[in-house]
């Protein structure tokens, strides 16, 4: 059994604390709310004895706010991942928190997929063989589907529906397994396909664009240029010279 990642949860409302604990441990899994504190001072005191892998903290709390807590922690620990949960969606708050070294900023009410994304970002799960095989199989299926549908519109939702999982979860899973954004992966595959066609075939640029899954040649050219630094025609000419 692999040891779960330990979380310090700082939140002044007990119901919320219990809910987050349940969400993290039972629904997301792989993480454990090992320590709890109801405010910043308590958390700091705890931190003298414990070494959590991640801290999740509310911003508005009695005695010491979340922002102050981050500030204090960052004085002697720069790398400890801290996730902030706040009712404020105010950009100013989020910016300040991130500037102070918060890893992620979540707003209430918490969306569990967002929380999961934040946790993975903060501290990826150690590889769990059992899960890994299952996840890998899903991603392999998704990749095969992408390859098959490269000339069509590819949508995260339809792919997720085909492999039978939630599309947001698929997005997280994909990033987790491959280390690459789903959309980046699709774009990369499309451009690879286009590059290949441009060099090996005599197809017109708009035909290449269609086969690579771009309905609009203009759109295709823009994407192609932003990735390769060349327009499709320039790329083809450069390829011919080599």
């Amino acid at each position: 059994m692999i040891e779960k990642l330990k979380i310090l949860l700082v939140e002044d409302e007990e119901i919320i604390r219990k809910g987050i604990k349940k969400m993290v441990e039972q629904i997301i899994g792989g993480y454990e709310v090992a320590y709890e504190a109801s405010n910043g001072i308590e958390a700091l005191r705890l931190l003298e004895y414990i070494q959590p892998d991640i801290i999740i903290t509310d911003i508005r709390m009695e005695k010491m706010s979340g922002l102050e807590l981050i500030h204090k922690i960052r004085l002697h620990d720069e790398s400890l991942p801290i996730i902030i949960i706040s009712a404020y969606a105010d950009f100013r708050y989020a910016q300040e928190a991130l500037a102070d070294g918060a890893t992620a900023y979540l707003v209430k009410p918490i969306d569990r997929i967002e929380l999961m994304q934040a946790l993975i970002k903060a501290c990826p799960l150690p590889i769990d063989n059992e899960n890994f095989v299952g996840d890998n199989q899903i991603i392999a299926r998704v990749k095969a589907l992408i390859k098959k549908q490269l000339d069509q519109d590819i949508s995260l939702r339809s792919l997720a529906a085909e492999v039978g999982i939630n599309h947001q979860y698929l997005s997280v899973l994909f990033k987790n397994v491959t280390g690459e954004n789903f959309s980046h992966y699709v774009t990369r595959k499309r451009i690879e396909c286009a590059k290949n066609l441009l060099i090996t075939s005599g197809l017109k640029v708009y035909e290449v664009s269609q086969i690579s899954g771009y309905r609009s040649e203009k759109h295709f050219s823009n994407v192609f240029k932003s990735i390769t630094g060349m327009t499709p025609t320039e790329y083809r000419n450069a390829g011919d010279k080599v």
């Binding site: 409302e13 349940k22 009410p109 519109d153 995260l156 309905r215 609009s216 759109h219």
Partner: protein, 585 residues
């Protein structure tokens, strides 16, 4: 001036006369002056010929005088004539006489081609002549009427106009002759006559050696007998310098009276020859005038066109702007007053557009402020915290579904009242719709289904916020019948446009309903209230979306709708394809 006439026509009306009148005036003046000058020159030319002819005539008359008086200075010839001075019987001519005459004639006729014959009419009827033609050797009074004139002249030279002497036996060619009575210088008795016959052609060659066919000249003797030319009848007296009409033709005439001989010389110059040159000038002038007129008209039209075209373009742009296309700008082609005007227009348009946008944003902000007012009465943090508590509480009771719903409600609330951005990622907008639909499905159960088709590339497109949800809401409010309804939300790229389609297979709309919806979406602000009061079929939110799209992106964007009863409805939003640059990199 009529105000309905376009500026271009006005310009033409002003400029064309300004060009045409002076041009045609100056050309016609030039024409007349050239013609007059030409006339003057031809008159001078004719006069110069006249003087030449007149001088030649004077000289020739003097020569004829000399020729005819040589008899008097040659004693041998005088003696011969004296011997034949007998009226009774005609004496035969002796060999000595013939020899003496031969010497006389050879001296006299030397290089005189114009002379047909030189004759001495002796008193006894003997005709002593020198000619190449055959002549009789005697003459008769009855045949020689001219002698009366010569006798009357008493020794002076007389001109005998066209005559056909009887003494020639082999030729009938008419000749011009001069004659003189010979008076014995010793006895003062009449010895006879001398007569010189001249060829007309020869005379003409002497008088006017470089003869031109177009010019005719006439010589009258001092008693008004026509001496030259031979072919014409005696004419009425010709005016000295004028235009005369002869046999239907106009001639320019000029004449002179010789001071030495008293003879009158006239020249006739056909007016049509003169006119031929003038006609040529006229033709050239006409061509030049015509060419210049056409040219000036073309230039005028071109000029006025060039001058008014930017104005016209500006006018059209202003018209479009006036119709409500606030993104319309005019092109500045040059830096003259029109350019300044265009610049001014663009500046004004810019201001109006930004004012409209501002007003629109103010309106939007006012609505947001209303929301905020509500918020201030109920602290949003309290709201979100409470929602969070509810969500967590449900979770604690293992009610994952309720927890999810509350979380999504919270997200929707945040999304719809946040005032940060006008443009959002299409993915966020779609997710918001999805949340909304999921919440609605919770309420409606299996009566509502939906499918979203959003290509992964289009997730990062930027669209105005909250444009999709009103259409989804519209479907739920109006399209739901007894059977389940499915909603499709699709994003499609068409060249450089992004199209968002909201399609349903609901009850659709009747033509009347569709009309009302369209009217409501597209009509002006003032009309909208009337329609709204009359129909009350919803669609204000749809109208707002349409107006927002047009305000943000210009006239070519907006909402269109296709629907028919029982076949569902498709709303299509069209807008430029814009990318979230940060996400692209």
């Amino acid at each position: 001036m009529n105000t309905n006439i376009t500026l271009r026509k006005k310009l033409l009306i002003i400029v064309l006369p300004l060009v045409i009148i002076p041009l045609s005036l100056s050309i016609s003046i030039a024409y007349h002056m050239t013609l007059k000058n030409h006339q003057k020159q031809s008159t001078a030319f004719i006069n110069s010929i006249l003087y030449q002819v007149s001088g030649n005539l004077d000289r020739y008359v003097k020569e004829l005088n000399t020729l005819s008086t040589m008899v008097l200075t040659t004693e041998d010839v005088l003696n011969i004539m004296r011997r034949h001075q007998s009226e009774t019987s005609k004496l035969p001519v002796t060999v000595d006489e013939q020899l003496a005459l031969g010497g006389f004639y050879s001296l006299l006729m030397w290089d005189r081609k114009e002379i047909k014959g030189y004759f001495l009419f002796c008193d006894d009827g003997t005709l002593l002549g020198n000619t190449e033609y055959d002549v009789k050797n005697a003459w008769f009074h009855a045949n020689e009427e001219w002698m009366r004139e010569a006798r009357k002249a008493d020794g002076r030279l007389v001109f005998i106009p066209r005559n056909n002497p009887a003494y020639y036996t082999s030729t009938k060619e008419e000749v011009l002759s001069v004659a003189r009575m010979i008076i014995d210088p010793v006895t003062f008795l009449e010895l006879g006559f001398v007569k010189i016959d001249l060829f007309y052609q020869g005379v003409q060659n002497i008088l006017y050696p470089n003869h031109q066919n177009t010019i005719q000249f006439f010589i009258y003797s001092n008693n008004n007998e026509l001496l030259f030319p031979a072919s014409l009848e005696n004419r009425a007296f010709l005016p000295k310098e004028n235009l005369v009409e002869i046999e239907g033709r106009d001639y320019l005439t000029t004449g002179i009276t010789s001071a030495n001989t008293g003879m009158e010389i006239y020249l006739l110059y056909p007016y049509n020859v003169l006119q031929k040159d003038a006609q040529k000038i006229q033709q050239v002038m006409q061509i030049v005038t015509f060419t210049f007129l056409i040219l000036s008209i073309i230039i005028c039209i071109w000029f006025s066109d060039k001058l008014t075209r930017p104005l016209r373009a500006l006018y059209l742009d202003m018209k479009e702007f006036g119709k409500g296309d606030f993104s319309r700008r005019t092109q500045i082609t040059n830096r003259d007053e029109i350019g300044t005007l265009s610049k001014g227009f663009n500046l004004m348009a810019e201001r109006i557009q930004s004012l409209v946008r501002e007003n629109y944003e103010i309106e939007l902000n006012r609505r947001i402020a209303e929301v905020l007012l509500l918020q201030s009465q109920m602290n949003p943090h309290f709201l979100y915290n409470t929602l969070e508590t509810i969500s967590m509480s449900a979770l604690n009771h293992d009610d994952l579904e309720t927890s999810d719903i509350v979380a999504r409600l919270g997200k929707m609330l945040r999304y719809s009242i946040s005032i940060k951005k006008e443009l959002v990622r299409l993915e966020s907008e779609i997710r918001f719709c999805e949340d909304y639909l999921d919440l609605q499905i919770l309420r409606l159960g299996n009566k509502l289904k939906y499918e979203i088709s959003l290509g992964i590339e289009l997730e990062d497109c930027l669209v105005p916020k909250l444009i999709l949800q009103p259409f989804v809401e519209n479907v739920i409010m109006h399209a739901l019948g007894s059977s389940p309804v499915k909603i499709w939300i699709m994003a499609v790229v068409q060249w450089d446009k992004l199209l968002l389609l909201i399609k349903d297979d609901g009850i659709g709309m009747s033509k009347q309903h569709l009309n009302d919806i369209e009217k409501k979406m597209y009509s002006l602000e003032e009309e909208i209230r009337i329609i709204h009061n009359r129909t009350n079929c919803g669609g204000i939110a749809l109208r707002n979306v349409h107006q927002r799209l047009r305000l943000l992106y210009g006239q070519n964007n907006g909402v269109s709708v296709v629907s028919s009863p029982n076949e569902g409805t498709v709303f299509i939003m069209s807008m430029p394809l814009i990318w979230d640059e940060e996400d692209n990199q």
